[in-house]
């Protein structure tokens, strides 16, 4: 059991456990916390693959900004605990079996293609290389994306503004 394999197993188990807990929790805040655990575990997996900048940015952006937004909304809307309903018949007889079939299908497809999948780079990718790609080869999509985000922010502000008569 080499160290990378050990770390991968731990992080993968934590990520899956977080994702399952996200669905099974009754209170939305607990679900949000589970999602944060999933994000941090994913950041660890990125780090194992050598993408150090992406790992840090995953924590900063997803864990530190987007999930904070989720937590704020849940706190402000005062969303209470879920009411306990019976497991629906459709889920029990159709949903779970189909989900299991789907899982087996995906696992089979990945296992068959496993030998042909590319492997990650041997050395960690430095921020400099990433920056060169982003600002030289892909600068146009990059700027377009930032423009899109600006449009989204403006739209949100316009929609959330109260209509007062000017």
């Amino acid at each position: 059991m080499t160290l990378p394999l050990f770390l991968f197993s731990v992080l993968a188990v934590v990520a899956v456990a977080g994702a399952v807990s996200l669905i099974l929790q009754r209170h939305p805040i607990h679900s949000a916390l589970s999602l944060i655990v999933v994000m941090v575990a994913l950041a660890g997996l990125y780090l194992l693959l050598g993408a150090e900048f992406i790992a840090a940015v995953q924590v900063i952006v997803y864990g530190g900004a987007i999930m904070v937004l989720f937590v704020f909304v849940i706190m402000l809307l005062n969303a209470g605990e879920e009411e306990r309903t019976d497991f629906s018949r459709m889920a029990r007889w159709a949903g779970l079996p189909l989900a299991a079939v789907f899982l087996v299908e995906v696992a089979y497809g990945v296992a068959r293609a496993a030998s042909r999948l590319p492997t990650a780079a041997q050395a960690p990718v430095s921020t400099r290389e990433l920056a060169e790609l982003l600002f030289r080869d892909y600068v146009f999509p990059f700027e377009l994306t930032s423009f899109l985000i600006l449009v989204a922010v403006l739209g949100a502000i316009v929609l959330a503004r109260r209509e007062d008569s000017d």
């Binding site: 805040i29 916390l33 150090e52 900004a65 704020f72 706190m75 430095s126 921020t127």
Partner: protein, 407 residues
Amino acid sequence: MSEFASEHPILLVALPKIVVLLFLLLTSLAYLTWFERKVVAHIQARWGPYRVGPHGLLQPLADGLKFLFKEDVTPAGADKFVYFLAPFLSLSLAITSIAVIPFGPREFTMFGQHTRLAITDLNIGLLVLFAITSMSVYGVALAGWSSNSKYPLLGGLRSSAQMVSYELALTMSVVGVLLMAGTFNLTEIITAQGGFHWGFLPRWNFFAGPLPQVIGFCCFFTAAVAETNRAPFDLAEAESELVAGFHTEYASFKFAMFFMAEYASMITVSCLAAILFFGGWLSPVPPAAFFWARYIPTGAFALAGLALIAHGVRYLTIFGRVLLPTLGLILCGLAALLASPGINELAQGPFWFLIKVAIFLFIYVWVRGTLPRFRYDQLMAIGWKLLLPLAILNVVLTSLAIVWTGR
């Protein structure tokens, strides 16, 4: 297990370093509270803690014991898991950030492995620090919400909104330094600030390079004070406004954890300011005066020790007359230890680094004792309308300066 350790000796070496740094950090946390109370008291023309031990030096111990023995109340209807999680999260995140801070340049060997004076030396060290800062918003938000009470909820929401806003200004104000250094690695940022201008002015980021990062430093420090919820940006925990903000319903040790987390983030931010803008462990003394400059740490410790002995033998209480001269003798012993050749080289970096950190902590406490606090809307306006544009301006000016001087 032992073969695992021998295959990865770096883990074996990291453990003693972690233990030592943790011990030092927790002790300086405790004595930072003493320092703050004394300084704020002297600013307000009174003495501060004076009776618990000579000059109040045992006050942190007394406070710690008090926190441990107080009754631990949990509010009714609080979400138990999140209520217990919030202070743990705050404290563990605040303490973790000491792991990426480099204390000195020298390498030394331990267990046959070359290591530096830092727990880790990450290529993304600065980004990891910002990641930890962003995650620490959760401690505040979850604490406020899980207490099931209106003042903490409002305080928590206000605090977290403030922290999220000032994070932007904090990270943008550092981009100027990154442009000049070209790396996120904290050790390399420090070494890029080596050398002296005209023989006496250190080439730290605050003074030199393509553009002296004065605006960057001012934005950084202001944003950092706001980020750590300290005065004058502490409306969210101000007594007259919100009882005690997000930590109203926390008793004894959980409150102490929030307290410690706040001071630990103060220490982290001071270390960052010293590293990014003031040359970290680089000495301000130019190498021309090299011979005696090596003994400045020895001299400082010896002076402090002798002053403590001289003051201690004439102290009021017998306990003080024993404790203070003992402390003075320990300091003189350390001074003698620092004069020996091997340890002298090793201690140069950390000495200057800790002096700078102490200066920034003093400025933190000074600002707290002097300025009145901001109203919440003024606070948010400063973050978004003043600091963020200033930080962006700093980035633009630095980029222009770099292109101009062709570096």
